[in-house]
């Protein structure tokens, strides 16, 4: 752990732990390369543009295949009037590096609700959706999730100012060393221990208790929702696919018919189209599931902020308890009144009093200890208050973000459903039209209208951008191009 010197601008940010003073913490913010108070995303465009496969040797010297993601960054106002934007800076990162970044942030900013990463392995898999990590659809959704993570971090009022975040986006090679140098690793173990410890706080903070309770509820309910949604997807898949059998039978039937043959053949094709449509429909719905999953994982972050607060409070209570005990001990020594049973007290009663010198020595030692204890408590208390203040600011910010994001998720879900209903309804109208008798005065020119009914994949673009940018808009930043991928 390095102590930051005020005035030197090249120091790496010091991690926040229980020993840091508020002055040092202030320093941290100053000593990052990005201007304090500005949000990183205002100054640069960030995207996770591509995914690629690599092979290499892992830590146990075995060959493995892994996916890397291309991070593109570009200064925000780089597009001249009417010109083409400059080529972005790029670097490659793999998932484990994202994880490392996140762990660093968790440890460095325990009062912040750290954005979650997309899931490492595909869960809540329904029917066809592959659980294979190298499956292109899964990789694509993960790419979107990673981009989302970066955008959230880069638009966060506190996190975006961290130098390590900046280096993650700009320094491909030297980044790992920079993170290690912060010494955050030492604190990872203690954090893990604190998260799993069973603490009993005497006077729990009502607000934090409420938050933890809400977070647990949200976690449970989203889990349930995702599970049921996967089952619903399974079932609706079955309904659509069985209709495909109609297609086959209509086709066979049309072979024995004279007048009805064409109509049946056409109807059969429409049934096939209907049966095939569900694949795209369900793939689109995965986007909604991903939005829910993000908030599922967010609840873990919320929980860990609450736990950290509990830990601080617990330590405060322990320190206070310890102080009280010491004070009582001192008083007892000073007055001779035995209120607290102690072995020393008993033995001195039995074997005779200690000398005046000895007693005064002990009193002095206790006084020293008491003073130190009082100092420690003052510090601890200040730390606690600062934690509460910072945490609560972030919690309020998070609550607003959550309400906005989830509402938008519901809106885009509704839009998706509407679009789906319209398209399938159109399909059935076409099926009906298979049986309309051909009559010159009615519909002779309808055939050229067919191209209007696009295949599902094509016409979907008009309604819904596929990227994750719907859920994380840069704060008044330049528009990211939506038509990537």
């Amino acid at each position: 752990m390095m102590m930051a010197d005020s005035g030197s601008s090249e120091e790496v940010a010091v991690i926040c732990n229980t020993d840091i003073t508020s002055a040092e913490s202030e320093n941290n913010i100053i000593n990052t390369m990005v201007e304090r108070g500005t949000v990183l995303l205002r100054k640069m465009e960030i995207s996770v543009a591509e995914a690629d496969k690599r092979t290499g040797k892992n830590t146990v010297n075995m060959q493995e295949t892994y996916t890397v993601y291309l991070i593109e960054t570009r200064p925000a106002e780089s597009v001249p009037e009417g010109g083409t934007p400059a080529a972005p800076d790029t670097l490659w990162r793999r998932y484990s590096e994202f994880e490392l970044l996140r762990t660093y942030l968790l440890v460095t900013y325990p009062y912040i609700i750290i954005p979650p990463l997309p899931e490492k392995r595909a869960e809540f898999v329904w029917h066809k959706l592959s659980a294979d990590n190298l499956d292109p659809d899964f990789v694509e959704r993960r790419r979107v999730g990673l981009e989302n993570f970066l955008l959230r971090v880069a638009s966060h009022p506190v996190l975006s100012n961290d130098k390590i975040v900046f280096l993650f986006l700009t320094e491909e090679k030297g980044w790992r060393d920079a993170v290690q140098e912060t010494g955050f690793q030492d604190k990872v173990d203690s954090r893990l221990k604190s998260l799993s410890a069973m603490l009993r706080v005497k006077n729990p903070d009502k607000r934090f208790m409420g938050l933890k309770h809400y977070s647990d509820e949200l976690n449970t309910i989203i889990l349930q929702l995702l599970r049921v949604r996967a089952r619903v997807a399974d079932r609706v898949y079955g309904v659509y696919k069985v209709h495909g059998n109609y297609g086959r039978v209509f086709s066979e039937w049309s072979a024995i018919e004279k007048e009805m043959g064409d109509g049946l053949q056409s109807a059969g094709h429409h049934m096939d189209t209907y049966a095939a449509a569900i694949d795209d429909i369900l793939e689109e719905e995965e986007h909604y599931a991903d939005q829910l999953k993000e908030y599922l994982f967010y609840t873990d972050s919320v929980r860990s902020v609450c736990r950290k607060h509990e830990l601080i409070q617990y330590e405060l209570e322990m320190a206070a308890q310890d102080l009280t005990y010491k004070k009582q001990q001192k008083e007892e020594l000073a007055t001779g009144a035995v209120r607290i049973f102690s072995l020393k007290g008993m033995t001195s009663k039995l074997f005779g009093q200690e000398s005046q010198e000895q007693r005064e020595g002990r009193i002095a030692a206790l006084e020293q200890s008491i003073q130190e204890g009082e100092e420690a408590i003052k510090e601890k208390d200040a730390e606690c208050q600062e934690f509460v203040q910072k945490a609560w600011t972030d919690i309020e910010r998070f609550k607003e973000q959550k309400d906005k994001d989830l509402r938008e998720a519901l809106i885009s879900y509704a839009i998706m459903q509407i679009s789906m209903c319209k398209k399938v309804r159109t399909l059935f109208l076409f099926l009906q039209s298979s049986f309309v008798p051909v009559h010159a005065s009615h519909a002779s020119n309808v055939s050229h209208l067919l191209p209007c009914v696009l295949s599902f994949r094509e016409s979907r673009c008009g309604l819904m951008p596929k990227s994750a940018s719907t859920k994380c808009e840069p704060l008044k930043g330049p528009n990211r191009t939506l038509d990537q991928k």
């Binding site: 309904v239 069985v242 059998n245 094709h269 509402r407 509704a414 009906q432 209208l449």
Partner: protein, 441 residues
């Protein structure tokens, strides 16, 4: 009768709609420019008239199909190709179901109304009440007395007591429509409509079924006494074709039935999951503040979709499946008629062969009975051929109606769902703009 060249069993592979030849594109015909026609079939919105030569520009596929929507689906054309010699002077209707509760049994009767100008009827109008049993009696009598004709089908006789409610509105409604169709078909038939049993059915106050009017047609009488034991040599190709067609068609109907039942099962399981899906949103709403209304909205919307799905499933079991099953029974009875025809022919051929042999031996002339047999066979063949054409027409009409009806129910389902989500969207987006304006204030 020859069936058209069989279409290649195209792989029912997935094709883009854009690649498929649209049935309405008559490739050979010269496509006339869009005529100046206003298509309005009693709908609220009026499509603007389309001028000659202007290809319809449709950027919105939905409005394109509104046009197709409004094209009349009932077969105006079919009417043109019907036998012009048929006069329509006997009109029958089945309606007004009523439940009768007696000590020993409960049953439904239907009102059968008749309007006619035929002299075979004493009065121009009749109104009687009949129950299913009576219709069944009529059909049996028709089959017996007109064995050379194809008698239209009745709805299914037996229903599993535990499974289907015989007195539910939907069941009675479905049955009544089928009975109405049956009677109309009989009344439209140039031969069957003159059957005295039909007359009795339509006019008698009390249908005394046990008496059994002993008025059989000549052919009926003779066919009844057809002797078995003759082997058929060569069945004329047209009747072979009929038999083959019926076999294949029956098979296809069976498959359709099985598919429909599987769909019902899948839909039912889907419905179960969907209901739980809705309740999870409801319970989530309980722990939220700002998101409470949106989430409850989603829950309500999903519930509405559940209701719509229920309606769709109900219509599959009430409107779709019964028609399939009706036709399977119909085909069975038709195959019986074909068999009887074969028997008649076999008998004739047998007798003829015997007579020819005898003639060769001792110059005995061909007996009159053999000639009568020949008449019988020729009559049978003629009746069957005429009825076959009629049957094919009716079948086409029935199945077009069935399939467009099925499509229609699906359209209704998606329309209902769409409406539910659209109204939710309005709520969600309103709230959004509400919040935005309060933010900027």
């Amino acid at each position: 009768m020859s069936v058209g060249a069989p279409r290649g069993l195209a792989s029912s592979g997935q094709k883009l709609i854009t690649e498929m030849l649209h049935p309405l594109s008559a490739a050979e015909e010269q496509l006339s420019p869009w005529p100046d026609v206003t298509i309005s079939v009693g709908v609220e919105k009026q499509e603007p008239g389309l001028t000659n030569g202007t290809p319809v520009e449709m950027s919105n596929p939905a409005s394109t199909l509104q046009l197709i929507d409004r094209l009349q689906l009932d077969d105006e054309l079919e009417a043109d190709t019907q036998d012009p010699s048929e006069t329509h002077d006997l009109f029958v209707t089945v309606d007004d179901p009523k439940k009768h509760v007696l000590t020993m049994e409960t049953y439904i009767t239907y009102r059968v109304s008749t309007k006619t100008t035929r002299i075979e009827f004493d009065l121009p109008e009749y109104c009687v009440r009949r129950r299913y049993q009576d219709f069944d009696w009529l059909r049996t009598k028709l089959e017996d007395s007109q064995p050379t004709h194809l008698i239209p089908p009745l709805p299914e006789k037996f229903v599993m007591k535990g499974v289907v409610d015989r007195f539910s509105e939907e069941f009675v409604e479905t049955r009544m429509k089928a009975l109405d169709k049956f009677l109309k078909r009989v009344a439209d038939h140039p031969v069957l409509s003159f059957n005295p049993h039909l007359n009795a059915f339509l006019t008698a106050k009390d249908l005394n079924k046990r008496q059994g009017l002993a008025l059989l047609t000549k052919v009926g009488e003779s066919v009844k006494h057809v002797t078995g034991g003759y082997k058929l040599r060569a069945r004329p190709s047209e009747f072979c074709a009929m038999g083959e067609y019926l076999d294949t068609f029956s098979q296809k109907l069976g498959t359709l039935d099985r598919i429909a039942q599987r769909i019902l099962k899948e839909q039912s399981e889907y419905l179960t999951e969907l209901r739980e899906y809705s309740s999870v949103y409801s319970s989530w709403a309980g722990s939220e503040e700002q998101l409470q209304r949106p989430l409850e909205g989603v829950a309500g919307c999903v519930t509405t979709c559940c209701g719509a799905m229920e309606d769709l499933s109900d219509s599959t079991s009430q409107d779709f499946l019964p028609v399939l099953r009706e036709y399977v029974l119909y085909i069975e009875s038709m195959k019986n008629v074909l068999r009887k025809r074969d028997q008649s022919q076999a008998e004739y051929e047998g007798r003829l062969e015997a007579a020819v042999l005898r003639k060769q031996e001792d110059r005995t002339p061909i007996p009159v009975e053999v000639e009568k047999c020949q008449d019988k066979v020729e009559c049978f063949n003629a009746d069957l051929k005429a009825d076959w054409e009629r049957w094919q027409r009716n079948k086409r009409q029935d199945f077009k109606q069935l399939l467009t009806g099925m499509a229609d129910k699906n359209i209704n389902y998606y329309e209902k769902c769409q409406a539910a989500w659209e109204s939710l969207l309005t709520v969600l987006q309103d709230k959004q703009t509400e919040d935005k304006t309060s933010e900027t204030n």
